[in-house]
Amino acid sequence: MAAEKLYAGTDVGSSWTKVVLLNPAKSLVGYCLKKSGTDFSATARRCLEASLEMADARSEDIACSFSTGYGRKNVDYADDTRTEIGCHAKGCFHYFPSAMTIIDIGGQDNKIVKLDGSGQRTSFKMNRKCAAGTGAFLEEMATRLDLSLDEMDRLARQSTEMVKLGSFCTVFSATEVLENIRQGRKVADIVKGVYFSMIRRVLEMDSLTETVVMTGGVVAHNPYMVTMTEELVGRKIMVPEHPQLTGAIGAALYAMNSTGLGMNED
C-alpha cells in the first residue's frame, strides 16, 4: 500500500487515453493506456483504477489530479486542466532540462513547442486543420496497405528503395499509395515513403533549434521514424522513456506544482 501522496495526470487523446501516477520524487509508480473510445470519462476512470492497482495505492492517496488532451474537460476526477501543449512541454523538460524544440506527433494533431533554458514556453505551433502528418494519416495508410500498425515499423526498416509521396492531402496520398501498389513497388518501400511523408509534414511546421525531443504515440509505436528524422536533420534526437505518456506526466507535474511541490525543480 502506498503511504506517500500521489499525483495523477490524465491525457485523453483523440486515439488513446493515458493515466500516470507520480510519487513526490516524481517517479512513475503507476500508469495505464487504453483506447479512448466513445466515453472519455469512463475510459479515464478505468485507466486510473488500473494505474492505482499498479502502484498498489487507493484513490485517497491522490493529492491532486490534472487532465489534458482532447478530452481534458471530460475527466470527472480531475482538479484542473492544462492543454496538451503545456503538458508535453512540462513532461519533456522534466526529462531533458534544457532549451529545446519538442516534436509531438499525436493521433489527430502535431505540435512543435519551443522552450527556453528555464523551461518557459517561447512559442508553439499545431498542424493546420489537415490530418497529413498525424497518426490518423498513418492509420489510413495502414488500412490501404492492409497492415497492422505494429507491422509498419518492422517493414520500414527493411526498405531498400523508398517511394516518394508528394501530396499534402491524406486522400491524395492514399491515391499515390495505390499507384505505387499498382506499379508493383515493395510494401516496405511504400511504408518507408509514408513515414518520410509524415516527417516532412512535421518538419515544415517550424525550424528545429537547440535540443530536439520527439514524443507521442506515433513515436512510441514507430521508433524507426525517430531514426529517419535524425538522418534527415543530421542531429541526435532525444526521446523520453515513455514517449506516449509524456503529456500525462506533464499533467501530473502540473498537479504536483499546484500543491506547492517540485516548483523549482523542473
Binding site: 470519462s41 487532465s67 482532447y70 481534458r72 474537460k73 471530460n74 475527466v75 470527472d76 480531475a78 482538479d79 484542473d80 486542466t81 492544462r82 492543454t83 496538451e84 501543449i85 503545456g86 494533431d109 518557459q120 514556453r121 517561447t122 512559442s123 508553439f124 505551433k125 499545431m126 493546420r128 486543420k129
Partner: protein, 416 residues
C-alpha cells in the same frame, strides 16, 4: 469534472440605440426598393460612399450583408450555391456567401428585420478595389444579374509611402465616376453637398477612432468583439448625422467606464491585439472563450480600417483619395509592420493573434513571416489561428480552443 466557466463580457447599453438606427437604415432601403422613391447604390465598404450620398443615393453595402451571413451562420449553407455556379470555395467567402444567398433566395435581413424579404435592388453598383479584387467580381456578377451599371475605382496595391501621384490618380478616378453616377441619379453633382457629407463622415471617423482608442485604458472598457459589432454605423451610415450621434453616445458610455475603472472583461489579466478578419460565425463564442480566460482581445486593425483621418471637406476628392489609399490593407508589408507595432505599443498588448482566413489572403497578414518579424521586434508572443471569416467548414473549433488556451497558459506562465 472540470466545469467550463461561461463568462460574458460587460454588455454595452448603447447597443439598443445602434439596433434602432440600423433597423431604420434597412427599412429605409427596403421601402425605397419597393416604392422606387429613391435611387439605391451598392457600394464596397471602403468605397466612395460620400459621393453617392451627395448625389442622393441610399447606399447599401454587400460586405455588411456578407458579415451578417457569417454572423448568423447562414453562410456555410449559402456558399455551396455559389461554388456550384463556378465561384471557387477558395475565393472570398463574403462573395460566395452573398451570391449563394441571392441564388437561394434567403437573407439574414428577414430574420433581423421582420417584413424585409430581400436585399434592396441596385440602380448602380460602385466598387473600390482597395479591399481586394474579389469585390469587383462580386459586383460584376450582380451588375449582370440586375442589368445595372457598374463603375469602380482601381486602387494601387502594396503602397509604401502614399505619394501625391498615388493620390492624384485615385482622385481622378473618383472624379471620373461622377458623370455616370449623375446619369443614374438623375441629378447634377453638387460640390457643396459632397463637402457637407464628407464633414459628417470625418466627424463619424474621428468619433469612431476615439471609441476604439478607449481600449488603450487598463482595464479596457471595450473588446474587439464589441468593436466588430459597433462598427456597423461607421460602415453603413458614415456621412450621416445618425452615425455621428450614435458614436457620441457610445463614446460617452465608454468614457464613463474608464472613469469608473469598469472592465469589458472582468479581471482582465491579458491584453491581446487581433490582426485579420473576424470569424463572424464564432464572434460570440470566441468573446466568451477569451472572457473565461480573463483575456481581453481589445483592439484590431480590422475595426481601425474605418478611421479616415485624411478626410478634408475643403478638398474632398483629393482627401478622399488619400484616406482610401492610406488604408492598411493596400499598404506594403513594411508599412503594415510599422502600423502593427504602433498599435501593439498604443494598446499595451501582451501578444498578438493573427487570423489566417483561408478565403481572404488579402487580409491575412501572417503568410509572409510577419508574426516572426513582429515577435523579434516587440519580444511579444503571437498565435496564428487558421479559420475563415464566413466559411465554418474551414474551422476546427477544438484546435482553436486548444491553441487559445495554450497561448493564454504561455502568457500566464511567463507572467508569473
Amino acid at each position: 469534472m472540470t466545469e467550463e466557466k461561461i463568462v460574458e463580457r460587460k454588455p454595452i447599453k448603447a447597443t439598443k440605440e445602434m439596433g434602432r438606427i440600423m433597423t431604420a437604415y434597412y427599412f429605409q432601403l427596403n421601402d425605397a426598393a419597393r416604392t422606387h422613391s429613391q435611387k439605391i447604390a451598392w457600394c464596397t465598404s471602403v468605397g466612395p460612399a460620400e459621393i453617392l450620398r451627395s448625389l442622393g443615393f441610399l447606399v447599401y453595402f454587400p460586405e455588411n450583408h456578407g458579415a451578417m451571413l457569417g454572423a448568423s451562420r447562414m453562410a456555410t449553407d449559402t456558399i455551396p450555391e455559389a461554388n456550384a455556379i463556378g465561384y471557387s470555395p477558395d475565393i472570398c467567402s463574403y462573395l460566395t456567401a452573398d451570391v449563394g444567398a441571392y441564388l437561394k433566395g434567403v437573407t439574414p435581413l428577414s430574420k433581423a428585420y421582420k417584413g424585409i424579404e430581400s436585399v434592396p435592388k441596385p440602380d448602380v453598383l460602385v466598387y473600390n478595389t482597395n479591399q481586394c479584387r474579389d469585390v469587383q467580381d462580386w459586383f460584376a456578377w450582380y451588375a449582370r444579374e440586375f442589368k445595372a451599371p457598374l463603375v469602380g475605382i482601381e486602387t494601387h496595391r502594396g503602397v509604401g509611402d502614399v505619394s501625391d501621384a498615388h493620390v492624384e490618380s485615385i482622385a481622378k478616378q473618383m472624379e471620373a465616376i461622377v458623370s455616370p453616377l449623375e446619369e443614374v441619379a438623375g441629378r447634377k453633382f453638387d460640390l457643396e453637398e459632397l463637402k457637407r457629407v464628407l464633414a459628417l463622415s470625418r466627424e463619424c471617423s474621428e468619433l469612431w477612432k476615439q471609441v476604439l482608442d478607449t481600449a488603450s485604458h487598463t482595464p479596457s472598457p471595450l473588446t474587439f468583439y464589441d468593436g466588430a459589432i459597433h462598427m456597423g454605423p461607421a460602415v453603413v451610415l458614415r456621412g450621416t448625422q445618425q452615425a455621428v450621434d450614435y458614436y457620441r453616445l457610445l463614446l460617452a458610455e465608454l468614457n464613463e467606464r474608464i472613469a469608473n475603472n469598469v472592465a469589458a472583461v472582468e479581471g482582465e489579466r491579458h491584453r491581446l491585439y487581433w490582426e485579420g478578419m473576424p470569424i463572424w460565425g464564432r464572434l460570440s463564442a470566441h468573446a466568451k472563450m477569451f472572457a473565461a480566460l480573463s483575456t481581453c482581445v481589445l483592439a484590431s486593425t480590422y475595426c481601425n480600417s474605418w478611421i479616415f483621418t485624411a478626410f478634408d471637406p475643403d478638398d474632398p476628392f483629393t482627401s478622399m483619395a488619400r484616406a482610401y489609399t492610406e488604408l492598411f490593407i493596400v499598404r506594403s508589408d513594411e508599412s503594415k509592420e510599422r502600423y502593427i507595432k504602433q498599435m501593439i505599443d498604443f494598446f499595451k498588448a501582451d501578444g498578438v493573434i493573427y487570423h489566417d482566413a483561408k478565403t481572404c489572403p488579402n487580409n491575412s497578414n501572417c503568410r509572409y513571416g510577419m508574426p516572426q518579424r513582429m515577435e523579434r521586434l516587440t519580444g511579444l508572443p503571437s498565435l496564428i489561428l487558421h479559420g475563415d471569416l464566413n466559411d465554418l467548414r474551414l474551422i476546427s473549433d477544438e484546435q482553436t480552443r486548444t491553441n487559445v488556451e495554450a497561448f493564454v497558459e504561455q502568457l500566464e506562465e511567463n507572467k508569473t
